[in-house]
C-alpha cells in the first residue's frame, strides 16, 4: 500500500467532511469556524480511520483545527504528517490481535 499522497489525503478529508456536513464543490476553501466540538471530534475520528485503512497513521486533536486557515491547508498537513506504518487493516485482525488468514482468491 503506497504512502499517503495529496490526492489520497484530500479523499480522506472530503469523505470525513461528508460525515459532518453537506456541501457542493471543492472543499479546499472551507474553513473550521463555527464548528461545534462534536463536529471536530467526529471529523478527526473519521480521518484517522480513513488514513489507517490506507496503511498510515496520523495523530490529531480537535484544537489543531483552529490553526488552519482553510481545509486546503489541513489537507497539506494530513499529507505531510501521515506516518506510514504498513500495518494490516483492522478487519484483517482477529479479536486477539493475530493476523486473520487471508482468503484464497
Amino acid at each position: 500500500m503506497p504512502p499517503i499522497d495529496r490526492s489520497s489525503a484530500k479523499e480522506c478529508v472530503t469523505r470525513s467532511l461528508k460525515r459532518i456536513a453537506d456541501f457542493s464543490g471543492d472543499v479546499e476553501n472551507f474553513d473550521f469556524k463555527y464548528w461545534h466540538k462534536f463536529h471536530k471530534t467526529a471529523f478527526i475520528d473519521a480521518i484517522a480511520t480513513c488514513i489507517s485503512k490506507k496503511g498510515s497513521r496520523i495523530v490529531l486533536n480537535e484544537a489543531m483545527l483552529d490553526n488552519f486557515k482553510n481545509v486546503g491547508e489541513f489537507i497539506d498537513f494530513v499529507k505531510s504528517k501521515s506516518a506510514y506504518v504498513q500495518e494490516p487493516e483492522p478487519n484483517l485482525l482477529e479479536k486477539d490481535g493475530n493476523l486473520r488468514p487471508r482468503p484464497f482468491v
Partner: protein, 427 residues
C-alpha cells in the same frame, strides 16, 4: 558515497554506476533537526507523538522513503527518553516508529509519560546513528549527539496539551467546551441600561488514574443579580461513553453521559440536586439557505436529548415546600450559512416539565424553552461580523420568561473554542 570518478575504464565504470545507487550519507546538524511533541488520537491510540522533523535537510520534491523505513524498522536504534541528568525515564517502543514525508514519529500512551514531559527537561537518546533513506536514494544520518542537542529544549508539554491529553484518555467529552464568554448586554427598551454577562463552562478530569470520572461546571452570571437567565451548576460526578465516530452517521454517532450535581440561580436562593442522562448526536441538515453557493459548508445540526431529575434543596420563596420534578428535553446547535456571506446560528433548548405539583408551585408551563438566534455577516479575511442576536424563552430554574434583542458589532462571536482552551470573547 556518490561515485564521482567513473568511466575511466569500462569495467571500473560499470562498478561505479552500481555504487552510485547507494548514494550519499548526509550527517544532519542539530540545528536542522526539530523535535516536537504532538498530542492526539489515532484509531488505536490516544497519547503523545514524539516527532523528529528533518524537513530542513530534505531537498524539494524529495521525501523520506517511507516504505523502506517501515521495512527496516528492526534495524533502528534504541530510543529512550532521558532527563537532564542522563537518567533513563522511558524507553520508546521502536516498533511504534513510522515515517511521514519529512519526519520520524514515535508514539507513547503510558500515563506516566505525561508527568515526565510536564515537569522536566528531557531529550531523545539513541544508542547509535539513525540512517534514514530518502526517495532519491540518499541517506540522512541523525547522530545521538545531534538528536540530544535538538531535543533537549523542546520536549515540554504545554498545559493546554496536557489537559487535552488527560481529557482524551477519559473518552472524548464532546459536548462541553472549556470557555469563558464575557459580554455587555443592552436593553432594547432602555438604551442607556447595560448589563455585564459572564457565561462559562468547564469540563475536567480531577484524578488522572480514574479518567472515567469527570467534573463539570457551567452557567451564566450577570451584573444584574436578578437576571432571570442567570444559572449556575456544579457537577462533581459525570461519566460517559462515545460511539460511532468512525462512521459519523446521524443518530448512530454520539455520546451518552450521566451527570450528578447541584444547580441554582445566581444568588443561590433556589438550588436543587440534578441527576441527568444525556444522548448527543447529529441530525441530517434541515434547511439549505445557501441558494446553490459552493462556498459554504453546511454543518449538520448537533442535538442533545436529555432526561433530568430534580430534587429541591432550598427555595427562598417557599422554604417549607420543597418538591421533586424533572424534565425531558433537547438542545440544539445549528449553524446555518445563508447565501455567500450571511450566517445564522441557532442555539436553544426545549423541555417538557414533569411533576404536576412542581409545575404548579413554580407557575411553570408544560413546555419550557429558550433560544438564541444570531445573524451575522462575514467580512472577507477577517473575523468581524455585524451582529443581531435575539434571545427568548425561560430559565428552567426560575421559570421566568425573558425576550431580548442585542444589536451591534461582534468580534468572532460565533467562533467555538476548542476543548482545553479558555478564551474571552469580546462582544
Amino acid at each position: 558515497m556518490k561515485c564521482l570518478k567513473p568511466l575511466l575504464f569500462g569495467f571500473i565504470g560499470l562498478v561505479c554506476v552500481q555504487t552510485s545507487a547507494s548514494a550519499d550519507d548526509t550527517i544532519v546538524p542539530s540545528n536542522k533537526i526539530k523535535v516536537n511533541l504532538s498530542v492526539g488520537t489515532t484509531t488505536t491510540f490516544t497519547g503523545i507523538a514524539v516527532e523528529i522533523e528533518l524537513k530542513q535537510v530534505i531537498p524539494e520534491r524529495i521525501s523520506i522513503d517511507r516504505a523502506n523505513f517501515a521495512a527496516t524498522r528492526a534495524t533502528l536504534p534504541r530510543f529512550e527518553l532521558r532527563d537532564e541528568q542522563n537518567l533513563v525515564t522511558f524507553e520508546l517502543d521502536r516498533n511504534s516508529a513510522a515515517a511521514a514525508e519529512s519526519m520520524i514519529q514515535l508514539v507513547e500512551q503510558r500515563a506516566e509519560v505525561i508527568e515526565q514531559f510536564s515537569n522536566r527537561r528531557n531529550y531523545v537518546f539513541i544508542d547509535k546513528p539513525m540512517r534514514v533513506k530518502l526517495t532519491n536514494g540518499d541517506y540522512l544520518v541523525v547522530t545521538p549527539k545531534a538528536l540530544m542537542e535538538a531535543s533537549l529544549t523542546n520536549l515540554v508539554l504545554s498545559e493546554q496539551d496536557r489537559e487535552m491529553w488527560i481529557q482524551a484518555r477519559g473518552g472524548a467529552h464532546t459536548l462541553y467546551q472549556n470557555r469563558i464568554d464575557f459580554g455587555i448586554r443592552g436593553d432594547v427598551a432602555d438604551t442607556a441600561r447595560r448589563e455585564f454577562i459572564l457565561s462559562f463552562s468547564y469540563f475536567g478530569i480531577p484524578v488522572q488514574s480514574t479518567p472515567w470520572w469527570s467534573v463539570a461546571a457551567k452557567g451564566q452570571i450577570s451584573s444584574n443579580k436578578n437576571d432571570p437567565l442567570s444559572k449556575i451548576g456544579f457537577f462533581p460526578l459525570t461519566v460517559g461513553q462515545t460511539f460511532g465516530f468512525e462512521e459519523a452517521k446521524p443518530f448512530t454517532t454520539g455520546e451518552i453521559r450521566a451527570w450528578f450535581g447541584v444547580e441554582g440561580d445566581q444568588p443561590l436562593k433556589r438550588t436543587r440536586i440534578n441527576g441527568s442522562l444525556t444522548y448527543t448526536t447529529m441530525l441530517p441538515n434541515l434547511i439549505d439557505l445557501t441558494f446553490g453557493s459552493q462556498k459554504r459548508l453546511r454543518l449538520k445540526p448537533v442535538v442533545k436529548l436529555s432526561v433530568e431529575y430534580w430534587d429541591e434543596i432550598n427555595d427562598y420563596a417557599v422554604p417549607d415546600k420543597l418538591l421533586k420534578g424533572g424534565r425531558i428535553g433537547g438542545e440544539i446547535y445549528y449553524f446555518v450559512p445563508v447565501m455567500e456571506r450571511y450566517s445564522l446560528l441557532v442555539e436553544g433548548n426545549v423541555g417538557f416539565i414533569l411533576g404536576d405539583q412542581f409545575k404548579k408551585k413554580h407557575g411553570a408551563e408544560d413546555v419550557v424553552s429558550r433560544f438564541d438566534i444570531s445573524l451575522g455577516y462575514e467580512v472577507p479575511d477577517a473575523d468581524l461580523k455585524i451582529l443581531a442576536k435575539y434571545s427568548f424563552g425561560q430559565n428552567d430554574i426560575s421559570f421566568m420568561r425573558d425576550d431580548r434583542l442585542l444589536l451591534g458589532l461582534a468580534i468572532d462571536l460565533f467562533r467555538m473554542v476548542s476543548g482545553g482552551q479558555t478564551e474571552a470573547t469580546v462582544r
